[in-house]
């Protein structure tokens, strides 16, 4: 046999060997299996999800659940393709803003009647945020508030009292506090402003910002007025006029704003409550002393709800079993573990109590859980195209504004024109 033929034979042998290994791996999905996709990424939450699935499978061997790991950044693309091809998972862990968009396209099942027993234990604003045209399309179970973390030792050193009033800290007082805590060795505030859209939209509810009108008719219009500009204007002033926000904040996302706070380069950190996870580690490893201020207040302390949800695909042939599984996931012990693992607010009354008990020794966590009653459904939650507008119009326009590249008038124009171009 010639050398080249031997080579060809060798390559074909290797290929057939590999294919013979791969082929048995292409197992078909079991007919009675419930598929459950979750983008959980914190180790404790992943473990809690795995434990919950194992416990379910042990108790329900005829309707086992298969857990499919996803990731937050790509779950939308993954679901879009799977819905189009009718291969979507039965149970979907996502967020209400995204799930409502799929509900508009008919991909998500109405689970109002299946989840009725849970309704009384979940705040009305959260329930509404996870509903589309009056029908529940996801069970809300966790949400995050944007809170102000404080470095207790820096405040003590400066002789400044940390606000504790239950009615919250007004934005004027907060700006003054940040200015007061700014000196030659540190800034008042660290606030990841590289992608400010989410936090600005959530906190704009402080000033009653609506952005959208006529949303119940399905033909929402957008208007950016004084209320809608309150948060961007105030933060802009803190960066450029008061100079009390670390200028490095403009170049980092939320995750990147923790480092200067932990290093004592800023006295406060404005971020989602989930930062408490990192701060707990810092407290344990290097004695970092942190707490949380009462929620910021404009005309109210309310923040827009965008809860994490469990939904059922309209394509699922096992909706009742999937609903039973969601009710199983919503047990207090599970929701409490999800909340503590993610640093978020649990949304059922009893899970909230359990979480408060688990973290009663921490003033910061206590404040975070106490803030859980300040969620309301914002108008944008009713607008299925909001997510698209947020990503393609709002985010880049706010980035340009915060980097001082465009004026306030230009910001308004871009937001309104951008919305019209999407309609």
């Amino acid at each position: 046999m010639s050398k080249s033929r031997k080579l060809l034979l060798a390559v074909l042998s290797v290929l057939s060997l590999i294919f013979s290994v791969i082929a048995p791996m292409q197992s078909a999905r079991a007919a009675d299996e419930i598929t459950f996709v979750t983008p959980a990424w914190q180790p404790d939450v992943i473990k809690a999800m795995q434990d919950a699935v194992s416990a379910w499978n042990k108790a329900n061997p005829k309707t086992p659940v298969k857990l499919i790991p996803g990731d937050w950044d790509n779950l939308g693309d993954q679901l879009t393709t799977q819905f189009a091809a009718k291969t979507a998972p039965d149970v979907i862990h996502y967020e209400s803003v995204g799930i409502r968009e799929y509900a508009k396209r008919g991909y998500i099942a109405d689970i109002t009647s299946l989840m009725r027993p849970l309704q009384n234990s979940i705040p009305a604003g959260e329930w509404a945020a996870a509903s589309y045209r009056g029908k529940l399309v996801g069970v809300p179970f966790l949400d995050q508030t944007y809170v102000v973390f404080a470095n207790v030792d820096l405040f003590k050193k400066a002789g400044v009292a940390i606000p504790t009033a239950k009615e919250g800290v007004s934005w004027d007082d907060f700006a003054a506090l940040s200015k007061r805590m700014t000196n030659s060795s540190h800034y008042g505030l660290s606030y990841g402003l590289l992608r400010p859209a989410s936090s600005f939209m959530v906190m704009s509810t402080n000033f009653g910002a609506k952005f959208f009108r006529g949303y119940t008719s399905g033909k929402a219009s957008l208007r950016v007025g004084a209320a809608e500009l309150e948060i961007p204007s105030r933060v802009y002033d803190m960066v450029y006029k008061d100079k009390s926000i670390d200028p490095g904040s403009l170049t980092v996302s939320a995750g990147g704003s923790v480092a200067p706070f932990l290093a004592g380069k800023t006295a406060m950190l404005l971020m989602g409550s989930y930062a408490a996870i990192d701060l707990d580690v810092a407290a344990k490893e290097k004695g970092f002393n942190w707490t949380v201020l009462p929620l910021l207040r404009g005309t109210s302390q309310m923040q827009a709800a965008n809860p994490q949800t469990f939904s059922i695909s309209q394509q699922s042939t096992k909706k009742k079993d999937a609903a039973r599984f969601i009710q199983f996931l919503m047990k207090d012990e599970n929701v409490t573990k999800f909340a503590l693992g993610d640093g978020l607010v649990p949304l059922t009354t009893s899970a909230m109590k359990a979480a408060q008990v688990a973290k009663k020794s921490s003033p910061g966590w206590t404040q975070i859980f106490a803030d859980g009653e300040n969620f309301t459904v914002a108008p944008f939650a009713y607008v299925p195209e909001f997510d698209q507008w947020k990503g393609t119009v709002l985010q880049p326009a706010l980035q340009n504004f915060m980097q001082n590249k465009i004026s306030k008038a230009e910001l308004v124009k871009r937001l309104e024109d951008g919305w019209k171009s999407l309609r």
Binding site: S4, M25, T87, G192, P260
Partner: protein
């Protein structure tokens, strides 16, 4: 003096190049050995204060990274081998044939590269679904072969064009058939080109994320990029220490393999270079 200056300039440029290429790798290894708090440090240091192996432990125990690594090796290797086998003859034909049909086909292959893959994902998904190849590594290999063939074909075609036609003519005068000539004359001379195609294909497939994300739903079938993405959360957060550890483990075998292939590539490329 100018000679010394020249040597210094070359050495300095090489040094900068090594820093530029090797810097991120050193940083990655360093990060994989740091504690979570050190990773969050405001003024990060190049070397860890204290070497921690916890990130490696987390990556190995909790993420199923080894299984994903094996999946990636299998999928990348098979895709690369299949493409290398499939492109030789067409590359030869496209390089040597002057017919209108060949020119048209070759233009079409070039045009097919213009379409963004994201536009094709849903039609491809539906097609694969009809073939019952969704959530199948075999299906994913098929996709990778399809999307990588056009570029590989064009790449190899340029290597064929560099082979002197006189060699083929000599083989034909000796009575060789086209198939025999390709096997005994063209193929050995194309080896450096094949190595380049293999490297490009392997790297493309090894790093590919989006098709794997959409086509594979079974965690046991996930490739490395899918597993690595699961270390990341939203809003710029993530388990960066474990991610760095998993990435280090993922690239070591690939680096070793490329070291071997690169050597082979250089050997073949220079073979005969000094013969008269």
């Amino acid at each position: 003096m100018s000679r010394i200056l020249g040597k210094f300039t070359i050495a300095f440029t090489v040094f900068l190049f090594v820093i530029f290429l090797g810097g991120p790798l050193v940083w990655l290894v360093s990060m994989s050995l740091k504690s979570p708090i050190e990773i969050l440090a405001y003024e990060p240091k190049l070397l860890p204060n204290e070497i921690q192996l916890g990130n490696y432990q987390e990556a190995l125990e909790k993420s199923g990274i080894i299984h994903a690594f094996i999946n990636s090796v299998v999928i990348s290797t098979v895709s690369t081998l299949v493409i290398c086998l499939l492109v030789v003859v067409p590359a030869y034909v496209f390089a040597r044939s002057k017919g209108i049909l060949t020119k048209g086909m070759s233009l079409w292959i070039l045009i097919s590269q213009v379409f963004p893959l994201s536009l094709l994902i849903i039609p491809m998904f539906l097609s694969m679904q009809r073939l019952n190849l969704v959530n199948s590594q075999f299906g994913l290999i098929l996709i990778y072969v399809i999307i990588n063939i056009p570029f590989s074909l064009w790449l190899l075609r340029s290597f064929v064009l560099n082979i002197p036609k006189e060699l083929e003519e000599a083989a034909r005068i000796d009575g060789a058939t086209t198939a025999y000539m390709i096997r005994t004359v063209i193929l050995p001379l194309l080896l450096p080109g094949m190595v380049v195609v293999a490297i490009f294909t392997f790297v493309n497939v090894w790093n590919e994320f989006f098709f794997a994300l959409v086509f594979l739903s079974d965690p046991e079938k996930a490739t490395l990029p899918l597993k690595l993405a699961q270390f990341l959360g939203s809003e710029g957060r993530g388990r960066f220490g474990a991610l760095a550890a998993a990435t280090v483990m993922a690239i070591i075998p690939a680096l070793v393999m490329f070291g071997i292939i690169q050597r082979k590539f250089s050997d073949n490329f220079l073979a005969g270079a000094v013969k008269g």
